[in-house]
């Protein structure tokens, strides 16, 4: 039995985000959870299932510990580690859980304190060890840089073309009061920004941040009696290439091929039906790469596709209308889940895509290692 339209997202929880010193990860999980329940018009005591993405800076926090802090005895719970792909992967697991009747209201949450936590300060995302460190290979950005280099080599993509992604998302962020980086930038700003790891420049890379996010998934019947217009989960899928990019047959085909195929198959739609996208954008160039793997354009044409305002508000396919990870905030895939739902509710004010009915979101972990796609409709 297909899970198309068998579940809905009914609550979104945000917290202060960006540079938020002096807060524990647990406090972000709790605040985001309360806010998601309030948004849904649901008592927090109605939550009977929880799935969390473990916090990068405090992995001891579990779904069960969070439940205990809220006085909840759960029917269903899990700590689901799919790296950056967790937000989308957890949504799929929650959809299965409510459809199966394992729980009625599944709260899904994440928190990070990588900006302010003294034990972290980005170290989590710069880890390096073993033989790689002997060669000076540090940080996940360098793995992405190696993938970007192959993309440029195989398809002729250029740094300047990647810049169009950063410029578009910064424009969107300028319309989003929650965004951390709201000053518009130009392609020249991008081209003049320093190398982080060549061929990636500073404006190709997302920062690390503090904050929490939560959303609530329930059945369509329950969703119709809550405060917000339900956003239905139409289709979803996953695709997971090898964790070590160098062991993959190719660096330029992502897990989006498989996760997109499964998701579009379940939803029974094609890319042409999608009104707005939230594409995981820890690095600019992975946006065109995923768009082509999802079928929004032909393989190898993604870098051309993202030019000339096509992915900007008003373009043929608005992408990352919140500013994304590059300009709104780095809270992994949870930035995309929330913006996709907000667009379908019509809650986005000056950055609203008029009449948006169908949204596609992706989340991606490791070095394009784990991948999840979810298609939503209002």
């Amino acid at each position: 039995m297909s899970l198309k339209d068998k579940s809905a997202i009914v609550g979104l929880g945000y917290t202060d985000q960006g540079k938020v010193p002096g807060r524990s990860a647990l406090s972000f999980y709790l605040e985001a959870s309360r806010n998601a329940a309030d948004d849904a018009g649901l008592s927090i005591k109605g939550i009977d299932g929880i799935i969390i993405e473990p916090c990068p800076t405090d992995p001891r926090i579990s779904a069960f510990g969070l439940a205990q802090e809220m006085g909840l005895e759960l029917k269903f719970g899990a700590d689901e580690q799919v790296q950056g792909a967790s937000a989308g992967a957890i949504m799929q697991h929650a959809a299965m859980a409510v459809d199966a009747g394992l729980c009625d209201y599944c709260l899904c949450a994440f928190a990070d304190t990588s900006y302010s936590s003294p034990s972290a300060g980005g170290v989590v995302y710069q880890a390096g060890g073993g033989i790689n460190a002997a060669y000076g290979m540090f940080g996940v950005a360098a793995s992405y840089a190696m993938i970007a280099r192959r993309y440029m080599h195989e398809y002729g993509a250029t740094s300047r073309q990647f810049g169009a992604v950063s410029v578009a998302f910064r424009h969107h962020a300028s319309l989003n009061p929650r965004a951390q980086f709201r000053t518009p930038i130009t392609i020249e700003d991008h081209q003049e920004s320093r190398w982080v790891v060549e061929p990636l420049r500073l404006l190709d890379c997302c920062p690390v941040h503090d904050g929490g996010r939560a959303y609530i998934v329930t059945t369509p019947e329950r969703a119709r009696h809550l405060r917000q217009p339900p956003v239905y989960i139409m289709g979803f899928g996953q695709g997971h290439p090898f964790s070590d990019p160098l062991r993959r047959k190719t660096l330029t085909v992502t897990g989006a091929v498989q996760s997109g195929k499964t998701a579009f198959g379940m939803a029974g739609i094609t890319p042409a039906d999608v009104d707005v996208c939230a594409i995981y954008d820890a690095f600019s160039f992975i946006v065109p790469l995923q768009l082509e793997d999802l079928g929004f354009c032909k393989k190898g044409e993604g870098a051309d596709f993202v030019q000339n305002g096509r992915i900007m508000l008003g373009g043929v396919l608005p992408v990352n209308t919140s500013g994304g990870l590059l300009s709104e905030v780095y809270l992994q895939g949870w930035v995309g889940t929330h913006e996709a739902v907000a667009q379908l509710r019509g809650d986005c004010g000056p950055r609203q895509v008029p009449g948006a009915r169908i949204a596609l979101l992706t989340s991606s972990g490791g070095a394009l290692s784990e991948h999840a796609t979810v298609i939503l409709r209002r």
Binding site: A133, G136, M137, G139, M146, R247
Partner: protein, 138 residues
């Protein structure tokens, strides 16, 4: 030299001991599957192609081509401070597996995908001779 900050050294554990012992003789060895003849790198307990655990360390050619690379413009470890900008390169060996490494005798600006390279060993310590690569003319 002795006052300089040491670069991080790989840990020589049971799994990798044959690799480092061969490196001391300036030989590059990889695990090869007795069942399906595939090579694997990095080292591990099974052959991912056929999931056999009958692997044997086998000397390989040490030749390959540059598959991709990146250039670090900042040192994330103090021992690399004098070397920025420096390149980290992935070499695809003729036997198949790809190795992360550095290129000797080649500036970052001169690196090209597909350029032929061969292994050379850098004597780091008595125990560790680190396989690196250098360009070869075709």
């Amino acid at each position: 030299m002795s006052s300089k900050i040491q670069k991080p050294l790989p840990r020589v554990d049971e799994l990798h001991r044959p690799f480092w012992e061969a490196a001391r003789r300036h030989e590059l060895v990889l695990q090869r599957c007795r069942k399906c003849a595939s090579y694997r790198y990095p080292a591990g307990p099974t052959c991912p192609e056929c999931v056999s655990d009958e692997l044997e360390w086998t000397r390989v050619s040490g030749r390959g081509t540059v598959f991709t690379w990146t250039v670090f413009h900042r040192a994330y470890h103090p021992a690399f401070a004098d070397e920025v900008p420096y390149a980290v390169v992935a070499v695809e060996l003729v036997e198949g597996p790809r190795m992360l490494t550095n290129l000797l005798d080649c500036l970052p600006a001169d690196i090209k995908i597909g350029m032929p390279v061969e292994v050379v060993f850098e004597d780091v310590t008595e125990e560790i001779r680190l396989p690196k690569f250098r360009p070869v003319s075709r």
